[in-house]
């Protein structure tokens, strides 16, 4: 199955759930279309279009940075290319494995971001993300990773948290910092 079809299946599932929820709402009331009218219409349209794309995926669309896979068929095709490289050359296989590992670590940094925002506060989250990317994903030194993380956290706290008074995720570190400067 191509990447486009996998993505469309995901969209189809979302649209089906949306449609199911929308059918529980009133589609027409005494004064005209009800709360469920538009979601039912749109979810129904989404389902129909997802089925059309599943049958005939068509050409990929334009994106902001032209970042679509050249063939527009998505991740699995690219993975297939990686697999082909593994078969032909051990060095290429190592590069492909490293590339997958880098990608997985970048993706893991998102999870750290979400969990950190809820539980660890801004500074710790940013430092953890920097270590994950700079040290583990990119293989730079611990000194560079921790130093860069600290710099990002400090700039964020000073510029955004203190000077611009932007709300940042808070923990004891942020509270202590604000107590010092505010």
């Amino acid at each position: 199955m191509t990447g486009a079809r996998s993505a469309t299946l995901g969209l189809l599932a979302v649209a089906l759930i949306g449609f199911w929820q929308a059918t529980r709402l009133e589609s027409w009331s005494f004064d005209g279309p009800g709360a469920g009218f538009f979601p039912q219409l749109v979810a129904g349209l989404c389902i129909a279009l997802a089925l059309v794309v599943l049958v005939a995926p068509g050409r990929p669309g334009a994106t902001e940075a032209g970042d679509t896979d050249a063939d527009g068929t998505g991740a699995e095709d690219a993975d297939a290319k990686d697999t082909g490289a593994e078969d032909t050359n051990r060095a290429d296989a190592a590069v492909a494995a490293r590339s997958r590992r880098t990608f997985a670590l970048y993706a893991a940094s998102f999870v750290v971001l979400a969990l950190g925002a809820a539980y660890a506060g801004f500074a710790l989250t940013v430092i953890a993300v920097a270590i994950l990317i700079v040290r583990f994903a990119e293989g730079r030194s611990w000194f560079a990773a921790i130093g860069y993380g600290l710099a990002c956290a400090l700039i964020g706290l000073v510029c955004f948290g203190w000077l611009l008074r932007v709300d940042l995720p808070e923990s004891a570190i942020e509270r202590a910092f604000y107590a010092l400067v505010r």
Binding site: A22, P57, G58, A62, E64, T68, T73, G116, V166
Partner: protein
Amino acid sequence: MEALLGGFAVTLSIENLAYCFVGVLLGTVVGILPGLGPLTTIAILLPITFKMDVTSAIIMLSGIYYGVAYGGTVTSVLMRIPGEASSVVTCLDGYEMARKGRAGAALGVAGIGSFVAGTVGVIGISFLSPPLAQLVVKFGPAEYAMLMLAGLSLVTYMSGGSLARALLMAAFGLLLGTIGSDPINMTQRLTFDLLSLGDGINLVPLAIGLFGLSEVLFMARQDPDALKVLPPPSRLLGFMPSREEARRSVAPVGRGTVLGFLVGLLPGGGAVLASFLSYAIERKLSKRPEEFGHGAVEGVAGPESANNAGTAGAFVPLLCMGIPANAITALLLGAFMIHGVTPGPTILERQPEVFWGVVASMYIGNVMLLILNLPLIGLFVRILEVPRAFLAPMILAVCLIGVYSSSGNPADVVLAVVFGFVGYGLRRSGFDLGIVILAYVLGPIFERSVRQALAISDGDPMIFFHSWLSGGFAVLAVAILVAGLWPKRVGQAA
């Protein structure tokens, strides 16, 4: 004219000049960095503007939008890599000129053409907006609904991919827009009884997730090896085109300006389409079509002027009708709404200082861009040397600040992360996410108009054809969709 002078008075305050400068500077930098586009940047910075005055916020965000068109040229000419989509076509002849030692002339022609087009485009906004706003005041819900339908159809048609995919993205965006409170009677919809979805999906986590976070995942896949950059001229005089190049550039700049502005007015138009159309026209009209693709100066002058004029033109439907022409102006519409200003025909009466302040800032922003871009290109090019190992954590930190500060709710960060993965998957599969944002922003306005029209007519859909205007828009929407199918069938038959 008096109103425009009032706009200059607003813009020429130290604070607004500073925001204008920050906007155009960021726009230039973002335009230079391949991958990080204006959508991503505006999405990331949107929450930071919440505590700013509305005029200052829009001045800065608009500066990013039109500044990008300048910056994107640099990487197109020096590296054959477009910094952003509207500079794609400049790669063809701009890079070839650079290889022949005419990088300075290419950048100079592009910079001067962009300045002329941007300035003329802003003059167009000044003169076209008031009469257009007067016309739009007469629109009822049916006219508005059909105008938006025509706009959405045009955007999907011009997305470049298959019509079904583009329409699916539009429907997905509309569906996301229905989550939360019903815009008319406040009934909770599609929330799955989750409190965090009670107010719907906010624009900020959606936009930052789809564009900002997914961009970081794309960076992870890129080859981190340094890109080859051709050297720009070290002296200001090096940017001056020769007399022959200047003579050959005059007409393309003029044509690109007019064409770009007109294309920018169309929903789905804007800078990208304008630049491609201009290139096609210049090649058609040229006495030396064989030079195109091998360093023809017309292939730089026309598209670069058109993309700047297109950017300016896209502000007309946004400010006068409250209808964004593309995803970036949809985000700007979101920014207006978050600040409690509804762009549309009444903005000229109710908040003229916002409208004319933004228009005046564009005049000043274009001058700033010209001054910034020619002498400082060498400095900007060095930005490309920042390794992704350091760029990615910085983007993630700014995304975290942006999402969290918009609501103070960690659930929004989770939502942004989810949309980051969704955005990555959809972009890799060739889906155009700009349409999602556009449909998401237009969705609630479209729904309200449709429901109001149907309530007035007691459910009779013929209300959408009761006036020539709404009927015309409806027919246009259908015609666009049918036209979207037509060439593919011909192509398939062949």
